[in-house]
């Protein structure tokens, strides 16, 4: 059973890697890191700040774009091209298919982040000429970015399991935007009254919390990230993704494939 999931994951990974769109986006992200170096040189004393801010933001945003663009097609493309039919006529369970697709894309994004991170670290080394221990914070920020990718992949996969690519993309991007303001949504819920409060609180807890995963500016100022937060975020992402994927499985299990 697990072997099949791994095979599907490997195939998904392979498909993503051979997709030329991926390379364009990685190249662009690396370009941003290079640009960060130039921008940093304009303002004195904050080159490091700019490199980390701009570089990590580029990694984060481009990664989200990749995750969404590949994620929305994960299921719908297979249905359109009927490749799914030949897979499901084999002893492959539908939920195994979802799990495999998820792992494949998540794996792709991890590898992706690795390469983009090299760009950031290279730019960092260039501007500061040496790496300090505070720069380990960048690794934590990158880890959180990967966690962001995991959540957005799960969401893109959920939408892909029942919706057309264009709607999946819209929903996924919107959830990312709203999730980035999740903290503000909770503040708003705390200030509201009556039914607005109820709805806002419900929304605040349902929406994926991307704001807690964004420690870019903290790290840029060399502030350490508390260990507690790392543990909480990891657990949260795992649990939330599990919920989203269960939703995807539930939908996909009973879907009539046209």
């Amino acid at each position: 059973m697990n072997a099949r999931i791994l095979h599907i994951a490997t195939n998904t990974f392979r498909e993503a890697v051979r997709d030329r769109v991926l390379y364009n986006l990685i190249a662009f992200a690396l370009l941003m890191s290079a640009a960060a170096v130039l921008v940093g040189q304009i303002s004195i004393h904050i080159e490091k700040l700019v490199v980390i801010n701009l570089g990590l933001t580029a990694v984060s945003l481009f990664g989200i774009v990749i995750a969404v663009f590949i994620g929305i097609g994960l299921v719908s493309k297979e249905i359109d091209k009927r490749t799914l039919y030949t897979v499901l006529s084999r002893p492959v369970r539908r939920w195994e298919f979802i799990a495999g697709k998820f792992l494949g894309l998540a794996g792709t994004l991890v590898v992706n982040t690795f390469f983009m991170a090299i760009g950031v670290f290279a730019a960092l080394a260039y501007v500061s000429h040496h790496l300090e221990s505070a720069d380990l914070g960048v690794l934590v920020a990158l880890y959180f970015i990967v966690l962001q990718f995991v959540m957005i992949t799960a969401l893109a996969l959920l939408f892909s399991s029942f919706s057309t690519p264009i709607f999946s993309a819209i929903f996924a991007f919107w959830l990312f935007v709203i999730g980035s303001f999740a903290q503000d949504l909770r503040n708003f819920a705390a200030m509201a009254h009556g039914i607005t409060r109820f709805l806002a609180t419900a929304a605040a807890y349902l929406v994926p919390n991307f704001s807690a995963l964004n420690v870019i500016s903290q790290v840029a100022h060399g502030e350490p990230v508390p260990h507690r937060l790392i543990l909480l975020n990891t657990t949260y992402v795992l649990v939330y993704s599990a919920a989203v994927l269960s939703g995807a499985v539930l939908i996909f299990e009973r879907r009539n494939l046209k």
Partner: protein, 352 residues
């Protein structure tokens, strides 16, 4: 379909099935399988794709599922593959339920106009499918190569599928369907879009499968292929089964005719007197006569010393049968005839 009709119909099907218990296992046993789609966003309208279908396919036979486009052939196949869930009825393949992974390991499926993962090469594609089918890693490579040879794709084994022609894709599709040596192979329009060479190759492959003891269930709207390959066929139209039986039986014409072709444009008196229309084209003449006049006609030609080119019995083709079936069936007629002569699925011919 009225409730009482449906009740009678189901009861009769059950009765017949009960009375005719075959000792051998059926490759495919479809019992009242039906599908209704709910279309529309706000107000769901029921759209029927398949009326309750009863069908039995024996092991080792080539079974053709015929019908025009949109008849329900693909729906039936999707129901059997578990891609779409039935609104009613059930089916068993090799005696096992449709969601049984053990059953799925023993069947192969080629969907209509497939694309496959075009970033993979043929070999990679088959390896992937082989892994998913649970084939042993050690045997996988040799099996993949063997099957590539069988479908004559071995030379393009390392070419990416996006560069494959339509015929090659179709062959790749058949390759993945038979890779794991399944007992039953389902093919949805396997000849579609192929040139004559391609069609010939696929026909040979299908016949090959039969000699290896496999059951082949394929859908098509090209009747000549069905005529050439199938042991039995079923005809489906607008979601309903209209006829089922061996090809020979279905096309057996009541009034046999024979076609005689001879050289020169001269029509001997004996033949002319039979009153049949003679067609002359170039330096040969053709006539279609009732079977009983065959000997007399040949005698007439021999007396005139005319050179005989061919004598061919003319049968009602499957096409004629097909058109006759589909052309005359209005909904009400179909319903009334079904209650009188239900499609039993065991080889009885439906006479309308």
């Amino acid at each position: 379909m009225a409730c009482t009709d449906r009740a009678i119909y189901s009861f009769e099907s059950l009765l017949i099935i009960f009375l005719r218990c075959f000792p051998a296992m059926l490759a495919i046993n479809i019992l009242g399988l039906e599908k209704i789609y709910n279309v529309g966003f706000w107000r769901k309208r029921a759209k029927r794709a398949l009326w309750p279908l009863n069908l039995r396919v024996e092991e080792g036979e080539i079974f053709g599922f015929l019908g025009p486009n949109g008849a329900g052939k693909t729906t039936t196949l999707k129901l059997l593959m578990g891609l779409v869930f039935p609104s009613g009825g059930s089916a068993r393949i090799l005696g096992m339920e449709l969601d049984d992974p053990r059953m799925k390991a023993q069947i192969g499926f080629l969907p209509e106009q497939p694309y496959f993962y075009d970033h993979l090469t043929a070999r990679e594609l088959l390896r992937y499918y082989g892994q998913l089918s649970g084939l042993d890693a050690k045997q996988l490579s040799s099996k993949v190569d063997a099957v590539l040879e069988q479908v004559k794709l071995i030379d393009s084994a390392n070419v990416q599928l996006r560069k494959f022609s339509k015929g090659m894709l179709q062959r790749a599709g058949i390759a993945q369907a038979i890779l794991h040596d399944p007992k039953v192979v389902f093919l949805d329009e396997p000849m579609s879009g192929l040139d004559p060479m391609g069609r010939r190759e696929v026909r040979n492959l299908i016949e090959d499968l039969k000699t290896h003891g496999k059951t082949v269930f394929f859908s098509t709207h090209i009747l000549s292929d069905a005529e050439a390959l199938c042991d039995r066929v079923a005809i489906i139209h607008q979601g309903e089964l209209h006829g089922i039986g061996a090809v020979a039986e279905l096309t057996a014409s009541v009034h046999g005719k024979v076609e005689i072709v001879w050289q020169t444009a001269v029509v001997p008196a004996g033949i002319r007197s039979m009153g049949a229309e003679c067609h002359s084209a170039g330096d040969s003449t053709r006539v279609i006569l009732p079977e009983e006049n065959q000997d007399a006609a040949l005698e007439a030609l021999r007396r005139e010393h005319l050179r005989l080119i061919s004598v061919v019995p003319v049968r009602t083709s499957l096409e004629d049968y097909f058109v006759a079936q589909l052309g005359t069936s209005a909904k009400s007629e179909a319903v009334s005839s079904r209650t009188l002569h239900p499609a039993t699925g065991d080889g009885q011919v439906i006479k309308r």
